[in-house]
């Protein structure tokens, strides 16, 4: 969706900056908001660039640098930690070859450590895009990654 239509969808007010920016970011394969986009949003909503930039650097769901198409957020807080979140990260590193904060060469996956996502009852858990995955075992993690790879290839065709 064009920026203008996203703004119309939520309402042309600076109050809706967070929603607008979240959707704007999710439309991009690189899952980030660039300098140019900060300027565009600021101009459209008649706010300072600093205001927009302060929002995308304050809230964890935003990134100012390019990320993968699928951002994998792994929870590391105590309920997940005592249920093996460290193993989840290790498994992801085995499969994807990246550590938290990094993106795969093919720009498909980024792994991030996140704060608690409210999935403590299915710990250890992770969030990919808007989907939540819990009770993770190495097999499940591998299966999930393959699923996303397949989905990406299917969407391409």
């Amino acid at each position: 969706m064009q920026l203008k239509s996203i703004i119309e969808k939520y309402g042309r007010s600076s109050e809706n900056l967070i929603h607008i920016l979240l959707e704007y970011q999710s439309e991009k394969e690189s899952n980030h908001i660039s300098e140019d986009e900060v300027r565009r949003v600021a101009d459209e909503l008649n706010v300072s660039q600093s205001r927009v930039y302060s929002i995308i650097t304050f809230y964890s769901l935003f990134s100012t640098t390019p990320r993968g198409k699928y951002v994998i957020q792994v929870c590391g807080d105590v309920p997940c930690y005592v249920n093996g979140s460290v193993d989840v990260l290790r498994e992801l590193e085995n499969i994807l070859g990246i550590s938290p904060g990094e993106t795969t060469q093919d720009r498909l996956f980024t792994v991030e450590r996140t704060s608690c996502i409210g999935c403590c009852d299915i710990a250890p858990a992770m969030r990919i895009g808007e989907e939540l995955y819990g009770n993770l075992t190495p097999e499940m993690i591998a299966k999930t990654i393959s699923l996303y790879r397949r989905k990406y290839n299917e969407d391409k065709e």
Binding site: F58, V78, P79
Partner: protein
Amino acid sequence: MKTKSELTKSILTARCGKIDPASIDDYIKAGGYKALKKALKMTQMDIVEEVRASKLRGRGGAGFPSGAKMEAVLNTEETPKYLVCNADEGEPGNFKDKYLMENDPYQLIEGMTIAAYAMGMVKGFIYIRGEYNRPIDLVSMALKKAGEKGFIGKNILGSDFSFDVEVRSGAGAYICGEEFALIESLEGKAGRPRNKPPYPTISGIYNKPTLINNVETFSNLPYILNEGAEKFAAVGTESSTGTRLVSLSGNVNNKGVFEVPFGVSVREIIDVLGEGVSGGREIKMVQIGGASGPCLPDSMLDIHMDYDVFARNSLSMGAGAVIVIDERFDVLEIVRQIMKFFKHESCGKCTPCREGNRQLLRILYKFISFTATRQDLALLESLCSVMVQTSFCGLGQAAPTALLSTLKYFREEYTSRIVEEMNA
């Protein structure tokens, strides 16, 4: 030993898992919206009185008497007034609000509508954390359906009362669970808290009187209106009426959300409802409330879930989470994970929290790496004390709670790693 049914009560969770959460017809068939119809025939003061008499306390963590809060806003002259539901639920270990929104969203909406009617509000917001995509979708859809049936929006159920609710989402910031940070976020800014006083009930969103309550708090209102304050107050204890939604997690066999009447002990929750520690292991410690809560040793687990009992022990129940940590884990490593959380989530506004959290981690690491001195122990205690006393908001004030509780109940974990003691 008590049974599961003796330890649970279905006030809030009566419909959970039994109806299609998206279906308003299911909700109505299961008794939904009876309370709202009843409320619309009462006066505002009568509704507030009912809530007062129920002795309902805020379920977000602060435990402030809900009736008193409502009365304060009702009596404020300035308009317009706003209603805000805090569905940010960022406190690690808590997932009960998610549970309520995913399983019975109409109950929350009805509760909010009753509250709005009681205090004369025309606009409300539900602030749901950005990671809760399914609750955002479900609640948004429920609002739409409720509007179509006249349960919300203009002239509700044919009355003069109009009330509209907007769902807004966060974008990944635990601090936005703090009421003023939440308001700043609603206004489209970075979520840094404002000075208190004045409190939101006087000057909240757009500097207008605002009542903010947790999902669970609002969700209790339909029952209170339907069954009456007396019946509600008969559940639980003298100081803590009604039920508590407990998010049980960590190293237990049966993790999940349990609705318990106040007065149930932590041990009963773990052994009966949680079906015991996974792998049959011993408990190292249990954290109550969330990351900002105290860590209790096994010897203290008979403590009752009750505001007064906890207060007498200088403890806080927080949002009601029970996180079980078994013997495999090192106390200091757990504390480190907790402190990493606070370091990441501090908003950065005030000196003690912004600088203190990262300094706490540094000092803690010295203990973990067996390079700490006696001065480090004194510094740790000093810094925690300053953070508790001088931080701008609840985040910084509560961040040292877990650490301080381990200093109290697991002191030897620290002292045994002091260099001089080791070499003695």
